[in-house]
């Protein structure tokens, strides 16, 4: 169904509809699509660069796996809460030192937090967690275990989905809250109040403070940070493997697919990208910000 061929009048054809022209309605000439542009501003990805970014996703996945491993150890009584607390304390202090060492190199556009403020925050965390841990202990005792597991799984999934992988430093509040909720649920299943306290401080370390440290390491030294992430991944797989081999295999598969396969797929499929732009106005949906449902 081609356009009707008009007997070529002297008037040049114009691409307007508001003017009556001596052409049939469906007539177009060869200049019709000359303003069309394809794939504007496209970035060609390189495979290893993409993999380097994807390692971040993998390490967050392994973080969750490590947390679950620790919980499994605690629940089965293989790890004493004191040991976990001491380890957390040491790791936290080391991390804090590293963080402080890396901080001065960062741009000083923001006022840095004082040590006193850090100490205050730490005191609040510890005192609240310690004060509430007996309450938390009794909180879910009448709720069935399956419900607690399902809730925790859902919340950890929400944490993974809403985690800001591009900039992990100010942790997104939804992801952090979901992770904390899940850890409270899991911690309340543990046998004693001290267990709960240890588990919660561990969760704080892992979900709130570790992303900050990772961010500053990445800013300072991008190369070693990727290897650090790989180390975390290996640690996650290894840790889970010691208690639950099937889970470790699953985690390893997931990590391989996230870190290696998905970037490969992205790079391969980029050839088929066909994005057209032109002088026309695209319809855009402006959501009225005043009417955002809460």
């Amino acid at each position: 169904m081609g356009p009707d061929i008009a007997p070529g009048p002297a008037v040049p054809w114009r691409k307007v509809l508001w003017e009556r022209q001596p052409f049939p309605d469906n007539y177009v000439d060869e200049r019709f699509l000359e303003e069309l542009r394809r794939n504007e501003g496209i970035r060609q990805y390189r495979y290893w660069a993409v993999v380097k970014e994807a390692v971040l996703v993998g390490q967050q996945l392994s973080c969750v796996a490590i947390f679950i491993t620790l919980w499994l150890y605690m629940e089965q009584g293989l790890l004493s809460p004191e040991a976990l607390l001491w380890t957390s304390l040491i790791v936290g202090l080391l991390g804090y030192g590293l963080h402080n060492a890396l901080r001065p190199q960062l741009g000083s556009d923001r006022k840095p937090r004082t040590h006193l403020a850090d100490l205050q925050s730490a005191a609040i965390f510890l005192s609240f967690t310690f004060g509430f841990s007996p309450v938390l202990k009794t909180l879910t005792e009448s709720v069935s275990t399956d419900t607690v597991y399902a809730m925790s799984a859902l919340m950890l999934l929400a944490h993974l989905v809403s985690f800001p992988y591009a900039h992990p430093s100010p942790t997104g509040s939804l992801s952090l809250n979901a992770a904390l909720f899940a850890s409270v649920c899991l911690a309340s299943r543990l046998p004693g109040a001290l267990h709960t306290f240890a588990m919660l401080s561990c969760a704080l370390l892992m979900f709130a403070l570790w992303p900050c440290l990772l961010q500053s390491i990445r800013d300072h030294a991008p190369g070693p940070s990727a290897w650090l992430c790989v180390g975390v991944c290996l640690g996650g797989v290894g840790g889970l493997g010691s208690r639950w081999p099937g889970g470790a295999v699953l985690l390893a598969l997931a990590l391989v697919s996230v870190i290696l396969l998905c970037p490969l797929l992205l790079v391969k499929l980029q050839r088929h990208k066909d994005n057209i732009q032109g002088p026309w106005d695209e319809a855009e949906i402006h959501e009225d910000l005043c009417k955002v449902p809460y």
């Binding site: 938390l136 909180l139 997104g172 809250n177």
Partner: protein, 574 residues
């Protein structure tokens, strides 16, 4: 142009004479009020009409002539025509009846252009019952505040004219005088002597009552009784509220000014009748209550009943402290709440034990209040019910407050959970960057509140049910008190026995449709519907304000706001 003549039915068979009435301003409508018979002296007629006009504010004038065929006067036509020169009017109606015909014929003489227009077909005679129109009140009532804003409709003007020309109808048919009139006559005045006597007696009575009421309101307005705790208490006790309403009603009735407007009169009459009804019902109630030891039996039955309620409540609490209906609640919180409420019941029972010896005396004196009216007895009963179920109210308030706080906290923490916050300035939810410690503590509290919510909600639910039962009982009592207070019994009986007094409008019936004669219509009153009567004339009380809808009530219950059986004064003004 169609000429409309409102003609009174009582003048249908009147002897020939002059038509007296009024042309409605700006319309081709004549309202005939009476017929002045022959013989008369024109100057006397003019004088008489001026006198009537002065008394009634109605511009009564001579409209034309009326001739009845029974007389054998041959030269009547010319005579009638000559009359129009004696009474100079711009329009002169000539209405006549002929033998053997039911209809009237009518001629209109336009005087300034000395041209006689004969329009046999374009005249409408509307026959009306003068007495009914005079006594009836057309609804919807017009507001007297804005009389000049809009011209009243034709029918309203006609009703006004007839109602205000009462002085014209006072002239009796047997009165000796220079003029003989034909119009509606009252059938007799035998009973009116009694009415006059009552009117005379009512004035000093009203003055005395008004003086007593003034003294009473002075007592209530003294500073001692207006101290804040007493004031608060009296606004919550329904018997005090009823007392203030009754005082206001009595003030309305005994005000020494006579009622000027229809609304005012009806208000007074309604209040008086409902007052009488209330007092007589109250006396009946007293005569029932103080016989056959009923009071003592009631008093002795009351305490065991209250005891029983407390015991049932204890059982309920014990059940709630276990695992009620298989629900798994937080054990620690459950125990704490249950013990707290049990202690309350214990307190309550000891209070009742303390009260027991005085109960019969209290009931005896309380029953006497029915002499002031049944409404007082009912209000007192409602108050006593409120006092006896005070523990349920307390439980409800504790439960509701706890639940409300929890819900409120959960709401704001859920916003924190999602990284949002409520912006007070813009009245919307904004995203917000929280600190780590804020997020941590918020999530901790959120988890705790979320897991404790079912326990609180269950306690709240159970106590709300109990409270709702009491509220429903009190609501029934309040409704019945309000019904007696505001029911327009006088207006309703007026509507039932003399339907024409309260007219919604009029209806017409075609009387004759002989071709060639004028159209004859019969105007009848259309009585106001009973529902409308109640709506228009009910005495305004607190329940006349629109009540909460069921949806609003459910919302309040869900959110945990307190519900009461009555509306607050503060919410009423909103």
């Amino acid at each position: 142009m169609v000429l409309k003549v409102f003609f009174p039915q009582c003048c249908n068979r009147a002897d020939s004479g002059l038509l007296v009435g009024r042309w409605l301003p700006g319309r081709d409508t004549a309202v005939v009020l009476a017929v002045i018979h022959y013989p008369f002296i024109p100057s006397t007629v003019k004088q008489y009409l001026q006198q009537i006009q002065g008394q009634s504010q109605v511009p009564v004038e001579v409209l034309g002539s009326w001739s009845m065929p029974s007389e054998k006067q041959e030269g009547l036509d010319s005579f009638l025509r000559d009359l129009s020169t004696i009474f100079p009017q711009t329009r002169w109606l000539q209405v006549s009846r002929e033998m053997g015909q039911t209809g009237f014929s009518c001629q209109l003489l336009q005087l300034p252009p000395e041209k006689e227009e004969e329009e046999e077909d374009r005249v409408i005679f509307v026959h009306y019952d003068q007495r009914k129109v005079m006594l009836s009140q057309l609804h919807p009532l017009e507001s007297p505040a804005l009389p000049g804003c809009e011209e009243p409709s034709e029918l309203r003007q006609m009703f006004w004219t007839v109602a205000h020309s009462e002085p014209l109808f006072l002239k009796d048919k047997y009165d000796e005088g220079p003029l003989k009139l034909s119009h509606w006559q009252s059938e007799g005045r035998e009973a009116s002597i009694l009415v006059e006597l009552m009117k005379l007696a009512s004035t000093p009575l009203c003055l005395l009552l008004a003086w007593l009421l003034a003294a009473w309101s002075w007592v209530t307005s003294t500073r001692l009784l207006n101290l804040s705790p007493l004031r608060f208490l009296s606004s919550k006790l329904s018997s005090c509220v009823q007392l203030s309403y009754r005082t206001a009603h009595m003030k309305t009735v005994t005000s020494p000014h006579t009622a000027t407007s229809h609304t005012h009169f009806m208000r007074k009459a309604n209040v008086l009748v409902s007052l009488l009804l209330d007092v007589s019902l109250g006396l009946l109630f007293i005569s029932w209550l103080y016989r056959e030891e009923r009071l003592a039996r009631l008093a002795s039955a009351l305490l065991p009943a209250a005891d029983r309620v407390s015991r049932e409540l204890e059982d309920l609490l014990q059940w709630l402290m276990g695992a009620p209906a298989g629900l798994k609640m937080n054990r620690a919180l459950d125990q704490v709440l249950g013990r707290f409420f049990l202690y309350h019941i214990h307190l309550w029972i000891s209070y009742l034990r303390l009260l027991a010896p005085f109960l019969e005396v209290i009931l005896w004196y309380g029953g006497l209040s029915a002499a002031l009216g049944l409404t007082f007895a009912l209000s007192l009963l409602s108050d006593m019910l409120a006092l006896l179920t005070f523990h349920i109210y307390c439980f409800y308030v504790y439960g509701a407050r706890l639940y409300c706080m929890k819900l409120y906290g959960l709401c704001s923490l859920w916003r924190l959970f999602r990284g949002r916050k409520w912006n007070v300035l813009r009245q919307r939810v904004d995203s917000c960057c929280y600190d780590l410690d804020q997020l941590f503590i918020g999530t901790l509290l959120f988890t705790i509140l979320l897991f404790l919510l079912p326990t609180t909600a269950l306690y709240y639910l159970v106590f709300t049910m109990l409270r709702l039962m009491v509220v429903a009982l009190q609501g029934v009592l309040h409704l019945s008190v309000d019904l007696i207070n505001s029911f327009p019994l006088f207006a309703l009986s007026l509507r039932v026995f003399t339907p024409y007094r309260l007219a919604e409008g009029v209806k017409f019936r075609v009387l004759s449709d002989e071709p060639g004669t004028a159209l004859h219509l019969l105007m009848e009153m259309n009585a106001l519907g009973l529902g409308e009567v109640v709506q228009t004339y009910r005495t305004p009380t607190y329940s006349c304000y629109p009540p909460d809808s069921w949806g609003a009530l459910l919302r309040k219950l869900f959110v945990g706001e307190l519900v009461y059986p009555w509306k607050h004064k503060t919410t009423k003004t909103d």
